[in-house]
Symmetry: C2
Subunit: 347 residues, 2 copies
C-alpha cells in the first residue's frame, strides 16, 4: 500500500486548480476542499492497480467526520457550499439543522473507484472499502463518527464495516443489503446488455440511455408512475408512445451526458459481485429498508439485520419512491439519520 496526497493536483477532475487551491487554504476555517490521492490498490479481480481517489471534505476540522456515499451515479459533491456552489446530489439532506449539518459535522465523500471510466476491470465493493481505508490514512482520520451509505454506498459501507471495523463507529446502510438479489442482478445484467447492443450498433449513447431508462424503472415504483403517467398513449409516426416516455427520454439523456460507459458498466457489475456475511460485520449498524423497493426486497434487509445480531437495528419506510426514497423522502430520512448519528455519539 502506498499513497500520495495530491490535493493540489486535481487537474484531471472537473474542478479548476484555482478552486482547489482556494479551498485548501481555507481548510482550517471549516470550508470545503477537494483533493485526490493516488494509491496502489490490491484489487480482488485485477491485481494491483494504481488508481486515483477524489474526495470532497466539508465542515470544521475538529468536528466528527461522517462519510457519505450514494448510488453508482453519485459523486464527491454532496451539496452546494461556499467554495463549490453548484448543486450536489444530496442537497436536500445536507444543511443547517439537518443530521448532516456541515457546521457541526465534517462531511467526507468520494468519486467511487471506476467512476471516471478509466478502470475497465471488475470492481468489488471490497475494493472501494479498501480504497476508502487508504484515504482515511491519507487524511489522518483514525475513525469515522459514522458512515452513511445509500444504495451502492450502503454496500461499500457494509464492506468497510466488515474489513476495517476500527475505522467507523456506526454504519447507516440505506437501501442496500449483504447481497445482490438475484432478480435485481438479472435486471442489471440486461441493462448491461443494452449497453453492449448499443456498442454493437455504433449507438453507444442510445444503448447507455436505454440501460438507464430500464434502471429508472427499478429505482421507482408503479405507484409513482400511476400518479404521474396515467395519460392515454399517443400514436406518433405510426408507433405507440406511452405517457412515461418523455420522462424516460430525459432521464436517459441526462445520464448519458455525465456518465462514461465503462463507469456505468463496471459499477453496475460491482453491485452484482457484492456478497458479504452479515456476521462478519463488527460495527453497530442501522439498516434502513424501503417497503416497495424493487431492487432490495424487505426480506433481504431483514436477513441482514438478523445476521447482525445485537449490532443491527432495522428501520422500515413505506414510500412511493421505492429504491430512490433516500433522495425523495428527505425529512423522514433526516429523522432516521439524526437518531442514528446520535446513537453513534452516545455509544
Amino acid at each position: 500500500m502506498s499513497f500520495v496526497n495530491t490535493a493540489l493536483q486535481s487537474a484531471t477532475t472537473a474542478v479548476s486548480p484555482v478552486a482547489d487551491a482556494l479551498s485548501y487554504q481555507r481548510d482550517d476555517d471549516a470550508s470545503a476542499r477537494r483533493g485526490e490521492i493516488v494509491l496502489d490498490l490490491a484489487m480482488r479481480h485485477a491485481g494491483t492497480r494504481t488508481v486515483r481517489l477524489r474526495y470532497e471534505l466539508h465542515g470544521p476540522a475538529d468536528a466528527p467526520v461522517v462519510f457519505v456515499a450514494g448510488g453508482i451515479s453519485a459523486h464527491r459533491h454532496l451539496a452546494a457550499n461556499d467554495v463549490f456552489p453548484e448543486s450536489g446530489w444530496l442537497n436536500a439532506l445536507v444543511g443547517t439543522g439537518r443530521a448532516l449539518d456541515p457546521s457541526r459535522r465534517r462531511l467526507l465523500a468520494i468519486d467511487f473507484i471506476g467512476a471516471d471510466g478509466h478502470l475497465d476491470v471488475p470492481i468489488e465493493t471490497a475494493d472501494q472499502a479498501d480504497a476508502i481505508a487508504h484515504l482515511l490514512d491519507a487524511l489522518a482520520i483514525g475513525q469515522l463518527h459514522a458512515f452513511v451509505g445509500y444504495s451502492y454506498g450502503a454496500l461499500v459501507g457494509l464492506q468497510l464495516a466488515a474489513r476495517h471495523p476500527s475505522r467507523l463507529q456506526h454504519l447507516v446502510a440505506v437501501s442496500g443489503a449483504h447481497r445482490a438479489h438475484p432478480y435485481a442482478a438479472a435486471w442489471r445484467a440486461l441493462q448491461r446488455r443494452a449497453v453492449l447492443l448499443g456498442q454493437l450498433q455504433c449507438a453507444d449513447a442510445q444503448g447507455l440511455s436505454l440501460a438507464r431508462q430500464f434502471a429508472m424503472l427499478s429505482y421507482r415504483t408503479p405507484e409513482e408512475f400511476d400518479e404521474r403517467f396515467d395519460a392515454a398513449p399517443e400514436i406518433v409516426n405510426g408507433r405507440v408512445r406511452c405517457a412515461a416516455e418523455d420522462y424516460l427520454d430525459a432521464a436517459g439523456a441526462q445520464y448519458v451526458a455525465r456518465t462514461p460507459i465503462n463507469a456505468y458498466v463496471r459499477l453496475s457489475e460491482s453491485i452484482d459481485l457484492h456478497r458479504i456475511d452479515p456476521a462478519a460485520i463488527g460495527v453497530p449498524t442501522t439498516v434502513v429498508a424501503v417497503e416497495g423497493d424493487r431492487l432490495v426486497p424487505l426480506s433481504d434487509s431483514v436477513a441482514l439485520v438478523e445476521g447482525l445480531g445485537t449490532l443491527g437495528q432495522l428501520r422500515v419506510l413505506r414510500s412511493p419512491y421505492g429504491h430512490d426514497a433516500f433522495l425523495k423522502e428527505t425529512d423522514r430520512i433526516d429523522a432516521i439519520l439524526a437518531s442514528a448519528l446520535r446513537t453513534g455519539e452516545t455509544a
Copy 2:
C-alpha cells in the same frame, strides 16, 4: 363486414394442407380442426384492412363452446390432440377431467390478428374482439358458453364483453384488467426500444431477444429468481455474468425463433393501447388476479371488479410465478375455471 371461410386454404400457416384436410373431414366426430377466415376489418387506427384469422377448434360439435385466449405469444393450438399432436401452449390445463375438457367442451382458439407479422399498424384489443365476432359468425356460433382469457387474452375478452356482450355468457379474465398500468406500459415501451436499437444495424434478433428477456422479468417474480438463481456471479472474459443469464439467453433465443418482430411490437403496443370502461361490460365476469403480478397490480383488478358491480367477482391467487401464474399454478387455476364455467352453466 365480409368474410370468406378458407378452412381448407391455410397454406400460409405452419400446418400442412394434408393435416387441415384431415381435421376438417373429422369435424363431426369431435376431433380437432384448423381453418382460417379472411375478413375486412374496420380497425381503430388503420382504416379497413383485409386480415386472415386462423383458428383451431377441438371438441364435440354439440358441446358448449369455450373460447380460450392467452398472452401475446400464445396461438391457436392449446394442447396436443389426435390431429395435431404437437404440444400446445396450454397443455397442462386442457384434458380429461379438467375444466377445459375437450370431450365435454368445444375449445376455440385463434392466432391473434397481427401474430403473423404481416399487419404492421397499431392494433387495438377492440380490433381483436371485432375479428372474433366475425369468426363466430363464420362458424355459426351464436353465443360462447364462456371466454377464458389470460394476460392479453383477458384484455381481448373484456373488449368482446363490452362490444359484443350477446356473444358470450361468461368471461373469465385472468391477469388482465381494464387498462394498461402506466408502469407496465413504460416497461413494454422500453422493450420496444430494445427492438428498435437492434434494428439500427441488422442485429434484429439480438434486439428482440433482449426485449423478450426484459419481458421475462416482468412475467416472473423476485421470489422465483431467488429460488432458482442464487449462485454467485462469474467473471467470463473479464465481464460479470449473473446466474440468471443462461436462462434469459435461452428464453430470448426460443422467442426469437418463433416470433416475427412486427408481431411482437404491434401486440406489445396493443396492450398499451388497451383502455375500457368497466361499466361498459355487460357480461358476468370472473376476474382472477395474482398477488405479486408485476404487470397487473392487484389494485387494478380490484378497480375492475368494482366497476363491474354485481356482474363482477374477484379471485386472488398468491404465486411466486406472478403474471405467469396462469401457466404454472395449473391445479389452482383449473379449480377456478371449473367453478367459473359451472357458474356459466347455471346462469
